[in-house]
Amino acid sequence: MKRGHFLRHMAWTGLGVLWTFDAGAGLFRPRSVGEAAAASLPGLNFVQISDSHIGFHKPANEQVDVTFQAAINAINALKVPPAFVVHTGDLTHLSKPAEFDQVKQLLSGLKVPLYTLPGEHDVIGDRGKLFNDLFAGKDRREGMQSWDHSGVHCVSLTNVLDFAATGQGQIGQPQLDLLAKDLAPLSNETPVVIFSHIPLFDAYPKWGWATSDAKQVNTLLSRFASATVLSGHIHQVLQRTEGRIQFATATSTAFPLPAPGVGEQPSPVVLPEKERRAATGFRSISLMSDRQLKLEEHPLG
């Protein structure tokens, strides 16, 4: 792809900017960090990291282990330690045992609890057996895992094992049934955060950047006053709101992918190192006690 297109895109996605969700207007708004400090106290603070692709050795990033380590170091150095870190998939590039060993070793450097879910790069050839052996939370069933922290209900979903005829991700009925059961006891006032690898909104269906049965998740989430869906897969920040549900995708720690439909195919974008560092990183999330959501992007350079 042409670099100009890519940079223009990064400008609108606003890496390095703090975004808050204005529930009244149904919009994400950029704010300066100074403004944010004056806002209400956070109820829950956590980090999303994604698409480390350990094992990738191509010009878009010859040292994905080094950039992943840099992200881990930056997370460990955050002034307010996150309650936990969620890795939203594609830990490895090709599901190889050596790649899993390496990413597990790197992740063991995190000082706070870790939750993971698989990307399609983590389940090649074995429907995720190796991934599950190494990273399964003890409560994961049908690919789903849920936990509570500071009054916030969190759920991670798997949507990379089966694909609809259209080439989109799929959650599958057994997991959707389990999600319905999991959410049923919650009051409408409980803030809910859902994690998935492939986005649960139509980011770009032609490249499979969508989930065929995501509408059923939206239906389950529609009664909640605060519902946030955080995903990976597309190696860039895109934000969307549907009703009261707020969607956001994350950058990779390895390399960016083209903006939706820019170029012929979703191949890694090769950038000079400085620009690549600015287009990769992790995100911290604060759910304030007044249910205000803050997303802060932390580029690696």
Partner: protein, 118 residues
């Protein structure tokens, strides 16, 4: 480019060898000809292919990105094929098989297996 030329010459060599071998089998077994599907620019080429039972298809990834081959009925699935990797599958049952790349599931191909070559 060099590696794909080398690859093509290997295919021609093995095709030549196999047809020679078939000719010497006295009891009329099916020809074990090798057919290729190339992967390039996020496409399987040819995307639609007809083979005979017992025929082996060699999938070769010429692309800069890794891909996989997985039938939608679950009957075959390759490991990850990175640039320059190949993987073979022998088709023994009649039918039409739709397959995708699990890394880029919008990539689809079709292989129809007909009766044994006479």
């Amino acid at each position: 480019m060099v590696s794909s030329l080398k690859y093509l010459s290997n295919v021609f060599l093995s095709l030549g060898f196999l047809s020679l071998a078939t000719a010497t089998i006295p009891n009329g077994q099916a020809a074990q000809t090798l057919t290729s599907v190339n992967i390039d620019h996020f496409k399987f080429m040819p995307g639609v292919l007809q083979v005979h039972t017992g025929q082996t298809v060699n999938f070769f990834n010429k692309d800069g990105d890794p891909h996989t081959i997985a039938s939608q009925d679950g009957s075959f699935e390759s490991p990850a094929l990175d640039t320059g990797d190949s993987w073979k599958h022998t088709f023994t049952k009649l039918g039409t098989y739709t397959y995708i790349c699990t890394l880029h599931p919008f990539m689809q191909g079709n292989i129809t297996v007909t009766g044994e070559k006479q």
